[in-house]
């Protein structure tokens, strides 16, 4: 940060003109940032302390929070959503992220067909989620029961019976692999060639090269993925809304889905805004320290790379 404190005067002629320029360039973006970023967040906190009563929001203290705590321990849907959010977060961090990084690595190493792999893996990111969802839904809902029957088992109602969580996990992995590919590739491509050439001269395998050279060097980028990913634990809908709209079976939703439907769903009303906001505020209080701890741990104990 210190690096940024430099004397403006030395760099730019005319202090007044500089300030005018900065003012003109920044005033509108900062205004909107204040309203739609800072303002929205503050409003969220305020809203969480209010209740809706015949067209008006009135101060209610911690009533919404009480309800949230009550639901977290008693409401089946919220409990299931909490469980599912943790499952999907785990899948994201332990399966999707490693697969995504490995895939990027292979593309970066220009294995045979790398160019095609690159395009293919990016396909689910490029095409609208609604298209991918529809394709997957119609195909799997037809195909999977046939496979069950072929194996002599009773065909399930894929997206409603006990199979649903498994199918949603597979779907998330399936579309998620390409998600970080552009930034991972970016991080890898800035590794200086001479570092790799050393490895190549020694004839080490791809596997070893990855762990010894590439991984430590791209670790800062991976840190970014992991750190920003914590919020996903509380915000990710894990594509549930895409598949089910407002009416997902209650044991498949995530916390992100639950909050979204409370605000956007067909049966939502302004009366549910404070409750949803209280959920958000509470989760922020949980997510923020987790994020900071993870960041701290990764920075302290992760591999160090200088180049």
């Amino acid at each position: 940060m210190k690096a940024y404190f430099k004397d403006l005067k030395a760099k730019h002629a005319g202090k007044k003109n500089t300030y005018i320029f900065m003012f003109v360039m920044l005033c509108i973006p900062i205004l909107f940032f204040c309203v739609f970023n800072v303002g929205v967040k503050l409003n969220s906190v305020l809203l969480s302390l209010k209740q809706y009563d015949r067209g008006d929001y009135t101060f209610w203290g911690f009533g919404n929070f009480k309800q949230v705590f009550y639901d977290l321990s008693n409401n089946y849907e919220v409990k299931a959503a909490t469980k599912n959010s943790i499952i999907f977060y785990g899948v994201n961090m332990l399966i999707i992220l490693p697969l995504s990084v490995f895939t990027s690595y292979f593309i970066y190493k220009k294995i045979p067909g790398a160019e095609i792999f690159k395009i293919m893996c990016y396909l689910p990111q490029m095409v609208s989620a609604i298209v991918i969802t529809l394709m997957f839904k119609y195909l799997v809902d037809k195909l999977l029961p046939k496979l069950y029957v072929a194996m002599g088992q009773q065909a399930p109602n894929v997206f409603y019976d006990e199979t649903k969580l498994g199918v949603m996990i597979v779907y998330n992995i399936w579309v998620g692999i390409g998600a970080n590919i552009i930034l991972s590739l970016g991080a890898m491509s800035r590794i200086p060639d001479q570092l790799i050439e050393v490895g190549e001269l020694e004839g080490i395998s791809l596997w070893k090269e990855f762990w010894q050279i590439t991984f430590p060097l791209i670790f800062p980028t991976i840190t970014v993925f992991i750190v920003t990913g914590v919020a996903g634990l509380f915000t990710s809908q894990a594509h549930v809304y895409n598949f089910y709209g407002d009416f997902a079976p209650e044991d498949i939703g995530t916390l992100g889905y639950f909050m979204f439907v409370k605000v956007i769903g067909e049966n939502s009303t302004p009366a549910s805004y404070p409750y949803a906001s209280a959920f958000g505020v509470l989760f922020t209080l949980v997510a923020a320290p987790i994020t900071l701890i993870i960041k701290y741990v990764l920075e302290k104990y992760g591999p160090e790379a200088e180049f």
């Binding site: 973006p29 095609i116 119609y138 800035r190």
Partner: protein
């Protein structure tokens, strides 16, 4: 770098895995395309085989049938939906990327307290997740009359932060300031330096990010649902299209699949044309710094 040969169990295993994964990605598209050419009853009796008759006419029909009805009394047809989607994605992308470009430029090239505060804000914003603000956002939008108002929606894109900001920040950091100094000596204003010298230098990044942002907005079917229901986009239309209305001739799974292909085609074409721009510019320029 040399092309790499596969020389270990791990690499061969993962290579095979990748091939299988790619097949799993391409198969649904092929199935979707084939299904989109079937007659609707044929889809019931033969969901996985080739169509007896290849009904390309389904695409003509779906062009007419893909629509969104608003308040039950106004029907938005496909051309208008395409227009809504295009204008939303195009204008939003330009505004969003341009704002990030300006702010990142000032922050990277005019260091000082203000720049420092902004940079810190952006980083904190990325690291500290504040979740569940949708309700609060909608409430503010309603107060400002931005809800369901395209002008308001576009104004809201004047935000900065996130990876786009960081990418621009890094890009500007790597651009030499020598040209600017020379221009200042010649009496150029700060605005002239920015628009005439600096912007042209980051055109590839600007273009790549705009394109990626365009794709994101084009695909974002929930935006219409959340913020501007009266101006549905084509992606949102596809979401509603899966719930059939009355049993007309142009309903059924083959038509939904044709809709999928219609909606994704423009993006696939744009991506294939510009893929090196997107994947090259962002990765190389983006994270240097």
């Amino acid at each position: 770098m040399k092309k790499k040969t596969l020389n270990s169990f791990f690499s061969i295993f993962f290579f095979v895995l990748l091939i299988l994964y790619c097949i799993s990605l391409i198969c649904p598209f092929i199935w979707t395309f084939i299904t989109s050419l079937k007659q609707r009853l044929e889809y019931i009796s033969n969901p996985f085989g080739l169509p007896k008759k290849w009904l390309f006419s389904n695409y003509v029909d779906v062009f007419d049938a893909l629509s969104v009805s608003i308040n039950g009394v106004k029907e938005i047809k496909l051309p208008q939906l395409f227009f809504n989607g295009l204008s939303y994605a195009f204008i939003s992308a330009i505004i969003h990327v341009f704002t990030n470009c300006i702010v990142a430029y000032v922050v990277s090239k005019y260091p000082g307290k203000i720049a420092n505060i902004i940079y810190t804000f952006v980083v904190v914003n990325m690291i500290l997740p504040v979740v569940g603000t949708l309700a609060a956002e909608l409430q503010i939008m309603n107060t400002l009359r931005f809800y369901d108002n395209m002008l308001g929606i576009y104004l809201m894109k004047i935000g900065f932060g996130g990876t786009n900001f960081l990418i621009f920040y890094a890009t500007f950091k790597s651009v030499s300031w020598t040209y600017a100094e020379a221009a200042f000596v010649d009496g150029a204003s700060h605005f002239k330096v920015f628009f005439a010298i600096m912007i042209p230098m980051v055109v590839p990044t600007f273009f790549a990010l705009s394109l990626m942002q365009f794709i994101t907005y084009w695909n974002d079917w929930q935006a219409s649902l959340m913020y501007f229901p009266s101006t549905p986009t084509v992606a949102y239309a596809l979401h509603t299209f899966q719930f059939p209305g009355a049993g007309g001739k142009t309903t059924g799974v083959p038509y939904i699949m044709a809709g999928c292909i219609l909606v994704s085609m423009p993006i696939i074409i744009i991506f294939l044309i510009f893929r090196n721009k997107i994947m090259g510019s962002v990765s190389i320029g983006g994270l240097k710094g």
